[in-house]
Amino acid sequence: MKDISEIRTDFPLLQRKVYNKPLIYFDNGATTQKPQCVLDAVRDVYTNYNGNVHRGVHAMSDMTSEAYENAREKVRAFINAGKREEIVFTSGTTGSINCIAFSFGERYIKPGDEIILSHLEHHANIVPWQMMCERKGATLKIIPVNDKGEILFDEYLKLLSPKTRIVAVTQVSNALGTILPVKKIAEAAHAENIPVLVDGAQGIPHGIVDVTSFDCDFYVFSGHKIYGPTGIGVLYGKEKWLSELPPYQGGGDMVDKVTFKKTTYNELPFKFEAGTMNYAGAIGLGRALDYVSDLGREEIATREKMLLDYATGRLSAIKGLRIYGNSPDKISIISFLLKDIHQYDTGMILDKLGIAARTGTHCAQPVMDRFGIEGTVRVSMCFYNTTGEIDALGTGIEKVISMFAK
């Protein structure tokens, strides 16, 4: 792997200061910063070959279409999907889940059916299913978690029933960092012929994602959480499902023949790509995936594990600091609270010290309810963070304690 100082120079934003202090960016779970090569790739589209995809005979359209389809191939290879037809570009994880919740609901869900989610889900993997349940008269069943923030697998097995139509779980808890055993979850569901959707928003940037090995039926993620642009995301679906599901949105490019009487739909994956897609975003995402692959995904995972261990050690040593989410299977996220100090107060002072952390419920209110808290401070690290930054965080937290200690 490249030297850390070299890696950091790849990211222009990491060079900036905030309040006259070097920016320490620990909110990678919300969004990641972009390497120069991604910024260049997006700029290159608009500067040198911009044309709408799949529509024209002219050279610009052709070049853009080719770059867009290359990006699709990069995504396919990155998650080890079987076919490019199984890769649909969307606006992000939320867009992908809404698409499946809608289309799957329209096609398969009847009153009395059940959908299984875990207690660790982000709102994006709860609300679309809830909306679908309301439309279709189905109900949600929730896999409970233990005090470490791990799902109770035996309880999950008990929830699987002839009424279950789909299981939708996150690969990694965005609030606590817990890694879920998605492969085992899919195995158990498939034994009952139930499909599984995996929310990979937090999983994709950390370590290896292999949808063929997971054997999940759907895998969704956002580009901006893996060093790509915002507004682009991916929906992977096994071909058999995507062929059967009705389209989510109608419009240009997703059609085969249109008459006012009847429209037939385009082949996969275009059936699910209505209207002008965010092709510049997709091309930027393709470049981001190249960047990650070039750094080395195993190397990234190893470095992030080192940062997690270092930060866990440093923060655990602070008196009155409690970490939420203590599974040994965790990505580099530390969610914590300081005794008698509101997360908002902690976050405000850390911000003034140049440290960007997230405070609040992290769009995962059920997780907070499970632990009887109203929020946490979340430090989400990635490979470009350093042990020096973690030391500064430790000192910052000690400063917070000295300011607010009663």
Binding site: Y19, H342, Q343, Y344, D345, M348, F404
Partner: protein
């Protein structure tokens, strides 16, 4: 003191400190002088939505001025609401509605008190003005009915 004199005195008090840490400590101290809301009003009806921390705000109206009491579970937020109360409490609905709150921009905490931060500052000001408008409308109604 007029409302603007109070605003000016707050600006002056904060101008004594250059360092943001001292300004925050002052804000924290101001939180301690907050006229604390009666426990019976510390309920959902008086909770202001739109803050990351909880803020309860209660208006007491004697037909002339509104007396605000409040509390928050976060200390910095308690300081912010204490500042607003210092300026707006004990004033007539008309004064509260028409006052331009310029002190926020000028105490040197703008970055943290800006409306785009989820500190609820905007929600607190809006709620105080809404109470003032409601009391003003109520008074106008009473006057129209000849009650006053």
């Amino acid at each position: 003191m007029t409302i603007n004199e109070v605003q000016d005195s707050i600006i002056e008090e904060f101008s004594l400190f250059d360092d943001w840490m001292d300004k925050y400590n002052l804000l924290i101290d101001m939180g301690k002088s907050l006229p604390v809301i009666d426990l019976k009003y510390k309920v959902k009806d008086y909770l202001i939505e739109g803050c990351q921390s909880k803020v309860w705000l209660h208006p007491g109206y004697d037909g002339h001025v509104i007396i605000f009491t409040a509390d928050s579970d976060a200390i910095i937020t308690r300081g912010i609401v204490a500042l607003l109360i210092k300026v707006l409490s004990g004033r007539t609905p008309e004064e509260i509605i028409t006052t331009e709150l310029y002190f926020i921009d000028r105490i040197g905490l703008r970055q943290n008190l800006s409306p785009t931060r989820s500190n609820g500052l905007l929600a607190m000001v809006r709620q105080m003005k809404l109470y003032a408008m409601a009391y003003k409308a109520q008074d106008t109604g009473h006057r129209a009915q000849g009650i006053f």
